[in-house]
Symmetry: C2
Subunit: 143 residues, 2 copies
DNA sequence: TATTGTTATACTCTATAACTATA
DNA sequence: TATAGTTATAGAGTATAACAATA
């Protein structure tokens, strides 16, 4: 008999849910010609574009070389443009193209659908309580 | 302005927490000479050893080739033994060695410490409610 | 023909580090 | 010397598929 039960481990539950969510979301994004690896960067740009790559790196909580490669792919697909920074010649600023901007609505709709499906079994009150606690744990204040 | 806020997305919160947890847990396991990739298989064996690889594959929700490689590594480290199945000559049964069994207590202690640190900001009642909701979402009944 | 397990291959993510160019 | 970004390389996870042995 094990010393710990799976279902009693927060980490185990989070790992299971994370896997379920990323699988489902990745599949949904395929319908838009995207993949989940492109999502954090696109999302950050929908929040605010015209920022430098180092800003994107920080917002995505990823590594600078990952940002480089994701932007290469996004640029190749015509979703973003790299433009020289007006004053700092080392820096590059990143802008969404019209095509990149147009993807926000359908992509966010898929994200919302994904969340809704996962949380379908909870009441509105449970849903709110859950989100509040998760934000607290993730270190985002109670809001 | 974005159509969706990060902190309002269940999926985004789960992804952040999953990353935090796996980073912390992996670091804790290093102190025991383990890594996180070995954990699901070891955990399944602590629950019950002497099972076949296909059973482990199912319990770990992974792929059969992953089980093969993880067991290769565990065997090389002297934590498990593969033995022929008594009646089915295709199948292999997997047993923990004394060393593999001895790791359960310290490894589970790290898992519990990891969970406790993540949930430190919640009251006992919040903790219980959170776990109940997560189990529900993950499809594990309300327990 | 289906099952059990191994191997080959490839793609993504992650991590370290070396590199260019600018500040 | 530090910053911004690119590139090379390697380890780990994941996926498909081919394969051998057995049922």
């Amino acid at each position: 008999m094990a010393e710990l039960k799976r279902e009693d481990s927060f980490g185990w539950l989070i790992a299971v849910l994370s896997r379920q969510l990323s699988d489902e979301f990745d599949q949904r994004l395929q319908a838009l010609g995207l993949r989940i690896g492109l999502w954090p960067t696109l999302f950050a740009l929908w929040e605010e574009d015209g920022v430098t790559q180092s800003v994107l790196t920080e917002k995505c909580q990823t590594a600078h070389y990952t940002t480089t490669r994701v932007l290469d792919e996004l640029e190749k697909r015509g979703l973003v443009e790299r433009r020289p920074h007006p004053t700092n010649r080392r820096a590059t600023t990143v802008f969404l193209t019209k095509e990149g901007k147009a993807l926000e609505h359908p992509a966010v709709a898929e994200a919302k659908a994904c969340n809704a499906r996962m949380l379908a079994g909870l009441s509105r009150q449970e849903n709110d309580r859950l989100m509040t606690m998760l934000r607290k744990i993730a270190g985002l204040g109670s809001r």
